[in-house]
């Protein structure tokens, strides 16, 4: 019988691969918007294809994230239960979903014209970069849990990502309610511009 660890490895590899493509495409398009000389040298078809690839890859990646979380949770349970590092993985997963939801939302809202606007291009590039950074940190935590080492150990400083934040259930619940209200008010109260 195939263990959940195998399915976790498959799902995380798909997540990391998808987000790598999405980050590469989004950041390249954003840089091309910010630096006209690069945009002039880049064939417009390549620019459009990078944009499309980033959009599709980020959607596929975010659809794979719940599968990675569920298989990771079951794997942690089969390895002796949750510990501080697996809790941190859970928390970074939330951040990862948030950033990539933002990337998808921006592209869905503005379409290809997103890259006509310097501010939106910067926001899209930064969101993709932050999303990919959290994905790398998630992978690093997974390496630390599974093998006891990670490539991030080569860094000359401690990222402090192995200690989970100490928070009680009541403050966590309050934060959850506030964030739910924030998301609800943005989706329902803030006007959504229609971009032609």
């Amino acid at each position: 019988m195939v263990s959940t660890a195998v399915f976790h490895a498959i799902s995380t590899e798909m997540v990391v691969g998808s987000f790598a493509i999405a980050a590469l495409g989004s950041i390249t398009c954003a840089v091309a918007t910010l630096i006209p000389s690069i945009r002039e040298r880049m064939p417009s078809r390549l620019h459009m294809q990078l944009d499309s690839a980033a959009y599709i890859a980020s959607i596929f990646g975010i659809l794979m994230v719940p599968l990675a979380i569920v298989t990771g949770y079951l794997t942690a349970e089969s390895m002796g239960g949750q510990n501080g590092m697996s809790l941190n993985k859970m928390i970074f997963s939330g951040l990862c979903i948030g950033f990539w939801s933002g990337v998808i939302s921006g592209r869905r809202l503005c379409g290809y014209r997103l890259w006509d606007h310097r501010g939106l291009a910067i926001l899209q590039g930064c969101s993709a970069l932050a999303g990919f950074t959290t994905t790398v940190i998630l992978g690093s935590l997974g390496g630390q849990l599974g093998r006891g080492e990670t490539a991030l150990d080569l860094l000359p400083f401690d990222l402090g990502i192995y200690t989970p934040p100490s928070i009680g259930i009541v403050p966590a619940l309050v934060l959850f309610l506030f964030s739910g209200l924030a998301l609800g008010s943005v989706l329902f109260l803030q006007s959504r511009p229609v971009i032609e």
């Binding site: 064939p43 975010i62 089969s78 859970m90 926001l123 329902f188 803030q190």
Partner: protein, 366 residues
């Protein structure tokens, strides 16, 4: 429609984010105070369960105790079938009829369990079924005299079926609770320490009466080597320190109390430095959902605010055409959005991107 779209987005987002919250019972339910009936819907259902091959033996550190006195019960369990998760749930109960049979229903207090908590039900991971596991509970007797019969029950998987075993066939183990002898040494104000951080030594302090000498004894579970530390009398009571834990694990400790008439011990208490047993998953789950929602709402809000600039401006067609593209194109201005050759239904984006190829394929000039 506008509302429906947003409700759909929220629903999909909620489904995505709530996925780790949904878990099946084969992953266990976590330690807790539970009756033996808990989990019976699966483990005791003859349609989906099978008998367990486990061998269970129960031992105590003393044959009787006194009111509010200590007791340690140890269960040795081996030979059980194992699922892929290798998880076994172990109950300490005062009956096997299923309800109101946890020790607290009979007035006993569980002061420590094998995972460093205070539960009568603990979940253990079994590496080797033949070697089995040893599970201990430290209890405080009820304030009334009497006799209590303790049982051990286990729930586990293996071979695709839920399984159950208990000690009802051999009658469990009976403990008599008698009166306190006069001048008997005992702990008068003591809350057992069951959790600690890795790397820090642990100082234990207890108020003890009728005592002239106190030692703190400790051992690693599963070994027969016991260490003894002499406790010091201070103004706050008797004090002794346990060595620091260098890694995740557990040790057991107890007080050895003596005076000129008696020598006795407290129950074994498990002191865990295993971070897995001390973490609370629920705040982390909420924090995960919080971060996802707050990050997404911040980005969506910024995007909607900035996207207003795009409504008033025309698409920058010149940006879509770099000099490299123009190598293959003429400088003719005839390629426009309202070109009559544009197929019906093509969007501006499609026409901009594929229009030149389309016209070229028709033999036209862009």
């Amino acid at each position: 429609m506008w509302i429906l779209n947003r409700l759909l987005i929220l629903g999909v987002l909620a489904c995505l984010l709530s996925s780790p919250v949904m878990e099946a019972n084969p992953g266990g339910n976590g330690d807790g105070t539970r009756d033996f009936a808990c989990g019976g819907a699966c483990h005791a259902d003859p349609d989906i369960s099978q008998p367990s091959s486990a061998v269970i033996t129960v031992n105590t550190d003393r044959e009787s105790t006194y009111v509010d006195g200590p007791l340690t019960i140890t269960a040795e369990i081996s030979g059980m079938e194992l699922s892929d998760r290798r998880l076994v749930g172990v109950f300490l109960t005062t009956g096997t009829f299923g309800v109101d049979d946890s020790p607290d229903d009979s007035g006993w207090i569980v002061t420590s369990d094998a995972n460093g908590g205070t539960s009568n039900y603990v979940e253990m991971h079994v590496l080797d079924s033949t070697a089995g596991i040893s599970v201990s509970w430290s209890l405080t007797a009820p304030p009334v005299e009497g006799v209590t019969t303790f049982h051990i029950g286990i729930h586990h998987g293996g071979g695709g079926a839920a399984r159950l075993a208990d000690t009802s066939d051999n009658g469990g183990i009976s403990i008599a609770v008698g009166p306190i002898p006069e001048n008997f040494p005992q702990l008068s104000d003591w809350t057992p320490v069951t959790q600690r951080e890795i790397g820090a030594s642990t100082t234990l302090e207890a108020k003890i009466v009728n005592v002239t000498s106190v030692n703190l004894e400790w051992q690693i579970p599963g070994t027969n080597t016991m260490q003894s530390i002499s406790a010091e009398s201070t103004s706050n009571g008797w004090q002794a320190s346990l060595p620091a834990a260098l890694a995740e694990g557990a040790l057991e400790y107890r007080w050895r109390l003596s005076n000129q008439d008696f020598e006795t011990t407290s129950a074994w208490t498990t002191l865990s430095s295993d971070s897995a047993s001390s973490v609370d998953v629920n705040p982390a789950r909420l924090l995960m959902l919080t971060l996802a929602m707050i990050t997404a709402s911040l980005l969506i809000s910024l995007q909607r605010f900035m996207a207003n600039d795009l409504i008033s401006s025309e698409p920058k067609m010149e940006q879509l055409e770099s000099p490299k593209d123009r190598i293959f194109q003429t400088d003719s201005p005839t390629f426009t959005m309202d070109d009559p050759r544009r197929p019906v239904g093509w969007t501006d984006e499609q026409w901009t991107h594929y229009g030149p190829d389309y016209i070229s394929n028709l033999g036209g000039v862009v």
